[in-house]
C-alpha cells in the first residue's frame, strides 16, 4: 500500500526503536519514515506505543535500542532541549500554558528575547505577529490566555513551538479536546503550515480525520509497526482492521448464565461538562449473571460512565437503577452498601492508600461493614484476618498484613483489589481493566474468579482496552464512541473489522 515518492532524504527516520518498561515492551523495534513537508499520521489504539514513540522522538525518554535520524544525520537526544535544537517541537494533548499571562508572554516563556535585563517586548511581538501571519493564524499577542477558547489555546501552543524554531511539529491527539468547528480551523492551520514547509506528525485514532488531513499514515499495534498507507488508496475500514489486528480471540465455549433479572439499568444518561457532551444519552442494562463489556478507545466517555455509576459524578440528565430501585441521587457510600464493587482502572489513584498497611487497604470501600467494622468502631482483628484470607486466596505476595501497599508490585496491588472486591460478594461489579499489569497466570485466575461469580449471579460491567479480555468474558459487548453507545455486538460473532470500525467511528 506504500507508494514511492521522489523526495530527498526523509526529514525524520526512526529505525528499530525499542523501549521496554518493567513487564511491558512499549515499542518493539518500530520503524517510521516521515518525509519533508508532509502531514504524517500515526494511528493505533491506546497503549499501542504511539505516545512512547513520540516521547522518544522528542527527547523525553531515551530508546533502549534503535537510531533516530533527522535530515539523514544520526542524533541522540538527552532532553527535549536537544530535540528543539534540531527543529523538533511537540504540542501535548494537555496544554501547558499559564492562564494569567498574555499570549505573548506564554509564547516567549523560557526563551525570552532580552534587552539588557528586560524583556524585549517589541522584538517578541514583531516575531509573533510575523509567525502568525506566515502560518495564517489569527491571534492577538496581548490577549490573556484565560480568555481564550480551547482551539485558540492550541494555536498558542503551536505558536510557542514555532517560535522556538521548530520545522517538525508533533501533535499529540490534537483534536481530542476540540469541538468540530475548531477541528476545521486546526486543519486549515495545518494546511498553511505544510504550505510553508513545516512537517507535521499527527497522532490520532480518529480515522476519518486522519484520512482527511494526512499525506501518509503509519499504523502501530502492540508496539510494532504493522503497516503504512496513503489516504487515497485506503479506507477507514482497512485502517481499523490494521489497528485492531486481523484475528480476534475466540470466546470460550460455555453455557450462558444470563438471567432475566436486571441488576443495573441506565436510562438516557447524559453528562455535559463545560459545554462538551461527554456522555450522550446512554441507556443499557446489566442483568444478573451477565458480563457486559464496554469496548472503545480510551477517552470516549468510559471513565465518566464508571464515575456516574459509582456516584462520583452526577449525570446532567437520565436515571440509574440498581436492582429496580432508583439510585440516581444516592451518594457513593449507599451505592457501595447496595452491593456495587469497584475495581478502578487507575488502581493507585482510586483504589489504594499507598502508605497505609494492607489491612487498611483491604477495607477501603467496605470500611463500615463486617468484618472490618463493628458498629462505630474499626475491627482491627477482623480486618487483619480478612486481609490474610484475601492474601492467601488471591495469591497476594507480601511479607504480611502490615506491609504498606506502596511496597507491593503492581500485580500484587491489583490482586489485593480484586480479592477485596470479590470477597465482599458484590451484586454488581464495575471493573476497569481488571487484569492490567498482572502476569498471565494471575490473569487467568482473575478471569476464572469473574466467571465463577458470574455463574453465581454477579452482574459485571467490564471496561477494558484488552480485546482478549472483553471477548473472552463478555456476554454482551457495547462499543462507546464519543460518549455514545454506538453498537451492541455479540462477542461470539463479532469480526475484527466490525469492532475496529465501531471503535474508531469508521462505521457510519
Amino acid at each position: 500500500m506504500k507508494t514511492e515518492r521522489d523526495v530527498d532524504a526523509p526529514v525524520v527516520e526512526l529505525r528499530a526503536i525499542a523501549k521496554r518498561f518493567p513487564g511491558v515492551v512499549a515499542n518493539d523495534h518500530i520503524d517510521l519514515v516521515v518525509r519533508r513537508g508532509e502531514v504524517h499520521a500515526i494511528v493505533g489504539e491506546n497503549g499501542a506505543g504511539k505516545s512512547t514513540l513520540m516521547k522518544i522522538l522528542y527527547g523525553m525518554q531515551p530508546p533502549d535500542e534503535g537510531t533516530i535520524l533527522v535530515d539523514g544525520a544520526d542524533v541522540r537526544f538527552k532532553s527535549p532541549r536537544d530535540a528543539i535544537a534540531v527543529g523538533i517541537g511537540m504540542v501535548h494533548q494537555h496544554f501547558m500554558l499559564a492562564d494569567n499571562l498574555t499570549v505573548l508572554e506564554n509564547v516567549v516563556l523560557g526563551s525570552e528575547p532580552r534587552r539588557g535585563l528586560l524583556l524585549d517586548t517589541g522584538a517578541a511581538r514583531r516575531r509573533i505577529v510575523e509567525l502568525a501571519d506566515t502560518y495564517g493564524m489569527d491571534i492577538d499577542p496581548d490577549e490573556l490566555v484565560e480568555t481564550l477558547s480551547v482551539g485558540e489555546r492550541q494555536r498558542v501552543e503551536i505558536l510557542k513551538v514555532l517560535y522556538r524554531g521548530a520545522r517538525i511539529l508533533i501533535l499529540d491527539e490534537p483534536t481530542a479536546v476540540l469541538v468540530p468547528h475548531e477541528v476545521e480551523d486546526l486543519f486549515t492551520s495545518l494546511a498553511d503550515l505544510k504550505a510553508q514547509g513545516v512537517t507535521v506528525i499527527f497522532i490520532s485514532h480518529k480515522l476519518d480525520e486522519v484520512l482527511r488531513i494526512a499525506d501518509s499514515i503509519t499504523v502501530i499495534r502492540a508496539g510494532r509497526t504493522v503497516g503504512t498507507a496513503v489516504p487515497a488508496e485506503t479506507t477507514a475500514r482497512q485502517l481499523a482492521e490494521m489497528m485492531v489486528g486481523s484475528e480476534l480471540p475466540t470466546p470460550e465455549t460455555r453455557g450462558s448464565t444470563v438471567t432475566d433479572v436486571v441488576e443495573l439499568e441506565l436510562s438516557g444518561v447524559s453528562l455535559i461538562d463545560a459545554g462538551r457532551t461527554v456522555i450522550d444519552d446512554v441507556s443499557f442494562r446489566v442483568r444478573r449473571g451477565e458480563v457486559v463489556g464496554i469496548a472503545g478507545v480510551e477517552g470516549n466517555g468510559q471513565t465518566e460512565l464508571v464515575d456516574i455509576i459509582l456516584g462520583l459524578t452526577r449525570p446532567t440528565s437520565g436515571t440509574l437503577a440498581l436492582a429496580g430501585h432508583d439510585i440516581t441521587d444516592e451518594p457513593t457510600r449507599e451505592r457501595r452498601h447496595d452491593g456495587i464493587g469497584y475495581i478502578p482502572a487507575d488502581r493507585q489513584r482510586y483504589g489504594l492508600l499507598l502508605p497505609s498497611p494492607l489491612w487498611e487497604n483491604s477495607m477501603l470501600g467496605h470500611q463500615d461493614t463486617a468484618p472490618f467494622a463493628r458498629g462505630f468502631w474499626i475491627n482491627r482483628h477482623g480486618a487483619r484476618e480478612r486481609t490474610a484470607t484475601i492474601m492467601a486466596e488471591y495469591d497476594v505476595r507480601s511479607p504480611g498484613v502490615d506491609t504498606p501497599a506502596h511496597a507491593l508490585s503492581g500485580g500484587n496491588q491489583q490482586k489485593l483489589i480484586v480479592g477485596r472486591e470479590m470477597s465482599a460478594a458484590p451484586q454488581l461489579l464495575v471493573a476497569g481493566h481488571p487484569t492490567r499489569g498482572i502476569d498471565v497466570g494471575a490473569q487467568a485466575a482473575v478471569w476464572e474468579q469473574l466467571r465463577t461469580a458470574r455463574g453465581n449471579g454477579l452482574a459485571v460491567l467490564l471496561v477494558s482496552a484488552d480485546l482478549e479480555e472483553l471477548i473472552g468474558l463478555s456476554d454482551t459487548l457495547l462499543v462507546m464512541y464519543r460518549g455514545r453507545i454506538v453498537a451492541q455486538l455479540d462477542p461470539a460473532a463479532v469480526t475484527p473489522q466490525e469492532l475496529g470500525a465501531h471503535m474508531t467511528g469508521a462505521a457510519a
Binding site: 470501600g365 474499626i378 511479607p399
Partner: protein
Amino acid sequence: MNRARLRRIGLSLLAPVAAFIFAVGISSLALWASGNDPWTAWSEMLGYANDTKRVISIVNRAVPLYLSALAVGFAFKMNLFNIGVEGQYQLAAVLAASAGAAVDLPAPLHVLFILIIAMGVGAGWAGIAGVLKAYRGVHEVISTIMLNAIVTSGLLAYLLSSYLRDESETSIIKTPPIPESGLMPSLNSWLDRLGVDVSPGSDLQGFVLVAMLIGLAFYVVVWRTRFGYDLRASGVNPWAAQASGVSPKGMILRTMLVSGALAGLVGMPQLLGFFGRYHQDFPTGLGFGGIAVALLGRNNPIGMAIGALLFGFLSASAQILDLNDIPKEIIDIMQATILLSVVVSYEVVRRMVAASEIRAAAEATEGMATQPARTAVLEGEKP
C-alpha cells in the same frame, strides 16, 4: 512486635532526636557568635527544672500548646491546614468567659457549660472556613488566616469594649469574673496526697487531666473508629477515599468542626485555672505554637505531648537565661531550628523506611521486580 516494627519505631525516634541535636548545635553557634558561652547557657537551662515549682510551670505551659497541637493535628490528618486555631481559641475564650460569668450553676456543670460554649464557638468559627472550602473551594489556609485577622485585629476588641466588658472595672478592659463554681480546681491536693511538696503560689492546673483525656480520645477517634479511618483515608488519598464512599464535602466540614472545637479549648486552662476572666493580658500565639508542636510530634498524640513539654520547657527555662544576662531570644532560634530540621529529618527517615519496606516486600515475592513502585515512593508522591 517483630524486628521490622522495632526498627521502624527506632527510625521514627531518630528523626526528632537528630533534629534536636542539630538545633542545639546551631543555637550554640548563635550564642558563641553573640559573645556568650554556650556551655553556661545549656547547663543553666538543664539545671532549671530542679524543683517542683518549675516542673509545674513547664507542665502548665505545655498544656495549652498540647491542646492547640491536637486541634492542628486533627485537621492535618486529612491534609487540612487549620492555621486559624489562634483566632478560634481567642474568640472562644472571650465568649466562654462572658457566658461563664453570666450564669450560676453547680460546680461541675458550670465548668462543663463553659467548656461547651468554648468548643461551640471554636467549631463555629472554624466551620466558616470549612463551609467556604467545601462549597466554594476557598483554600483553608487563606480563609483561616483571614478569620484570624478578623478576630485579633477587630472583633475581639469590639466585643470586649462594646458588650462584654465589666463596667465596674475602669482601668483595664476585662470581662466580669467567673464565679468560683465555674473555675477548674488545681491538682495540688492530689500532689499533696502523693507526698509532693508544692510551694504556695504554684498550682498544677486541673486541665492537665482534661488534656490527657483529650489526647487519649484523639488517638481512639483517629485510629480506632470508622470516622477516623475515613479521615485518614481522605488525607492519604482523597480520590480513593471518595471512591470508597467518603463524601469529600462532609469530611471537610466535620474535620474543621472537630478541629475548631479542640481549638476552642486552648484558652481554657488559663481562663479557668489562672485568670478566672478574660482580659487584655490573656496569652496570645498559642495557636501558632500548636502548629509547631503538631509538626514536631507528627500529629501523634504521644509525639505531640513530648513536643509540647519540650516547648514548655524551652519557654519556661528562658526565664533563667534572662537572669544570667544571656539573651533569651536564643530560645526562639532554637525552636525555629528544631522545626526546620525536624521537617527535613522526617523526610529522610520516611525515605529510609520506604526503601526498607520495598526491599522486604521484594524478598517476600521472590525477588520480583518492584522498581516502579520504588521510584514512585522515593520520588515522593506525598503520603
